[in-house]
């Protein structure tokens, strides 16, 4: 292939500039699909945030908007979950993955039309599904509430992504497959299999409950988590400019995740009316998840050690490192809470809601933000309009999720211990959760503000609005040479003609 005559470069070589040209070709080939998926995802993020706020404020004002059936809590809340999972994070994940996939395989992204069609189908599916839930057609199975017809769009959309990825893989020029490729490849296999498996019309009663939690936990662990880890494995060494701490450990991390994670989900039914062995198996594997988590933690965090000052400047690094730290936290917390004693306290409480947001938001969503901050300037050949707004986005979402998690965790633990004490009247428990739920509404508002800021920034960069910003976007003036290896020393934009077809960055893997 003409765009890449370079030999496979080991991923840990932050080698530079000699063969920059193929990267422009790769970035240009990914432009349409990446923009389509990222913009769609962000639209769902905003919609999902508004649904979340409606649901949350209903705890402060239970008689607000009760005349309209479609605005009742029990419909808005699953609509929020489904737009966030299948709209926001899935589509953002595909957008980020598509770019990573082509970059790491050192070849043009193939099957752009398939990806564009996929984005269209995906949007239609989530739209139909969300309207279906609000209109009263929910299937009332947690994480699979959207009516079947929504999946008639989403499953083909997923298969189109698979087809495009396989074709790109087939035409690859990289001989060495970096660990991120492993995660992404496994995820595009797991995602469609999971969805098809849960749609099989073979479940009812208790077996449906075990299938339900096998699925719901795996959508998080095998579909949403791998792109997050792949991105962290790519961007942390990339932006810092040093190889991952231990490349061999990353293999161990991948295989232990692949083998252990998918058994863990049924810990949601510990103490429930399921066969004893099912719950026990889940607890065992949840505990074994400590291995891949520690491995990934060692690799991500020890790569950052000694380079913390770079978090001050780079939006990508700041978001991604925030996400990587959250991954360690959420996973260790997950292993801990599967144990019977802690499950007895925390199950059925707001603690679980805090935990799931630590995973989907503090980990996956923050990494997606960081990745998008890196990718968009390269595929649009434009820069982010305002470092102040990027900073506002970081602090509103970072503090927002921090307050959200802290409040619901404390409130949930109190709620859990009160539930265990039969002398505490139920309405007293309800009353005691109210202050924590106010914090949730406030922090949710903060995050939503961040999402609107992000959506605005994205709209500006995609439409290439305003004056062309000077140089890459950093929070503070960067000491010379800090990010030279990623073309981030200010030369990126300066050297690049604004015709759009030329270089967007000169040093990349």
């Amino acid at each position: 292939m003409p765009e890449d005559a370079s030999p496979a470069v080991p991923p840990d070589v932050a080698d530079a500039s000699a063969d920059a040209d193929w990267r422009q070709v790769v970035d240009a080939s990914a432009r349409g699909p990446v923009v389509a998926f990222v913009v769609s995802a962000t639209a769902w993020l905003v919609i999902g945030s508004l649904l979340a706020l409606i649901a949350s404020f209903k705890f402060q004002f239970p008689d607000w908007w009760t005349q309209q059936a479609w605005l009742t809590f029990g419909r808005v809340r699953p609509a929020h979950l489904n737009t966030m999972i299948y709209g926001w994070i899935s589509m953002a994940g595909v957008g980020v993955s598509a770019w990573l996939w082509a970059r790491l395989l050192k070849t043009r992204l193939r099957g752009q039309w398939m990806l564009l069609l996929s984005a269209a189908l995906w949007n239609l599916g989530v739209l139909v599904g969300t309207i279906g839930i609000l209109a009263g057609y929910s299937r009332a199975i947690e994480w699979v509430e959207m009516p079947y017809v929504a999946f008639a769009f989403i499953v083909p959309a997923m298969l189109l992504v698979v087809a495009s990825f396989i074709q790109t893989l087939w035409e690859r020029h990289a001989r060495h497959l970096y660990i991120s490729v492993w995660y992404l490849g496994a995820a595009i296999l797991w995602g469609p299999l999971l969805v098809v498996a849960i749609l099989l019309p073979i479940y009812s009663g208790i077996p449906e409950a075990t299938a339900n939690w096998w699925y719901a936990h795996n959508i998080l662990g095998l579909w949403i988590t791998p792109p997050g880890l792949a991105a962290a494995y790519y961007f942390i060494p990339k932006v810092i400019g040093r190889p991952v701490h231990s490349y061999h450990l990353s293999y161990l991390g991948f295989w232990t995740l692949a083998l252990f994670y998918n058994w863990a989900g049924v810990h949601h039914l510990v103490g429930g009316p399921v066969p004893q062995w099912v719950a026990t198996v889940s607890i065992v594997f949840s505990a074994m998840m400590i291995i891949p988590v520690i491995v990934v933690a060692v690799n991500h965090h020890l790569t950052v050690v000694g380079h913390f000052e770079k978090l001050k400047y780079s939006p990508t690094l700041r978001f991604v490192v925030f996400g990587a730290m959250s991954y360690t936290a959420v996973s260790l917390q997950g292993s801990l809470q599967s144990f019977r004693y802690w499950q007895e306290v925390t199950h059925f409480t707001h603690y679980t809601i805090a935990h799931s947001h630590l995973g989907v938001y503090a980990f996956a969503t923050m990494i997606a933000f960081g990745a998008i901050y890196y990718i968009m300037p390269r595929v649009t050949d434009w820069e982010w309009g305002s470092k102040r707004l990027v900073s506002l986005h970081f602090w509103t979402t970072g503090l927002g999720i921090g307050a959200y998690f802290t409040a619901l965790t404390i409130g949930g633990v109190i709620q859990g211990f009160q539930l265990l004490d039969p002398d505490v009247a139920f309405l007293e428990i309800v009353d005691d959760t109210k202050p924590w739920l106010i914090v949730r509404s406030v922090s949710g508002t903060l995050m939503t503000i961040g999402h609107l800021v992000f959506a605005y920034l994205l709209a500006r960069i995609v439409t290439r609005s305003g004056e062309r910003p000077e140089g890459p976007t950093y929070f503070h003036p960067v000491p010379e040479g800090t990010f030279a290896h990623v073309g981030g020393d200010g030369t990126r934009s300066a050297r690049v003609p604004s015709t759009g077809e030329e270089a967007t960055s000169q040093e990349d893997r």
């Binding site: 049924v266 429930g272 009316p273």
Partner: protein
């Protein structure tokens, strides 16, 4: 190609194993399970009410699983005479076990609160019978009409003065509200005396 093929193969094998173990095996193991005493298939009205329960998302605040003796305090709270068992759910096409207790567990609600007047008033305006509750009101499951227009077949909801509609209007339950009540009355656990052994959860 060999290494990426290995990744795909390994990933596939991993998920195939857990799928078999965690979804197909429980299905086989529980396929011959007998319904527990008192568990019956739903009538037409009860099924209709169950669909209202699914549609309105009751599951997001109410579980339907009583924890067994020695795990949690459900029995001491009077939420049921025993822990729930797989046989309680054999007629549930869509399971509603739930993961959240913003409201109390409902698996034995029919024993705890059988009053139709209470349930209808509670659905129309939870705070009229349960002060401090954060449950949403469901006015759209009811009709407010003039007393003189109420037909003999219709069910009027008794409400305290604070929550009753003004003037000579009254609140009348729709089919959906009545069906939902019928469904709630199927949620009843009969005690079983087998030492809690067979089929028990933990």
């Amino acid at each position: 190609m060999t290494r990426i093929a290995l990744v795909f193969l390994g990933a596939f094998a991993a998920i195939a194993m857990s799928f078999t173990a965690l979804t197909l095996l429980p299905r086989m193991q529980l396929s011959a399970i007998e319904p527990t005493p008192g568990t019956a298939d739903y009538t037409y009205d009860e099924q209709l009410g169950r669909e209202v329960y699914l549609r309105e998302g009751c599951i997001y605040c109410h579980s339907q699983q009583v924890r067994p003796e020695g795990f949690g305090s459900d029995l001491k709270r009077g939420w049921g005479p025993r822990g729930s068992r797989p046989g309680d759910y054999v007629y549930d096409e869509t399971h509603q076990l739930g993961t959240m207790r913003t409201g109390p567990d409902l698996h034995d609600i029919a024993s705890r609160q059988p009053s139709r007047d209470w349930h209808l008033a509670h659905l129309y305006q939870p705070r009229s019978v349960s002060p401090g509750s954060v449950m949403p009101a469901y006015p759209y499951l009811f009709e407010v009409k003039k007393k003189s227009n109420v037909m003999a077949s219709e069910v009027t909801v008794p409400l305290s003065a604070d929550y009753a509609p003004p003037g000579d209007s009254v609140v009348v339950a729709t089919e959906d509200a009545l069906a939902l009540y019928d469904y709630l009355m199927t949620l009843k656990l009969e005690p079983i005396n087998d030492g809690g052994a067979q089929g028990a959860s933990n």
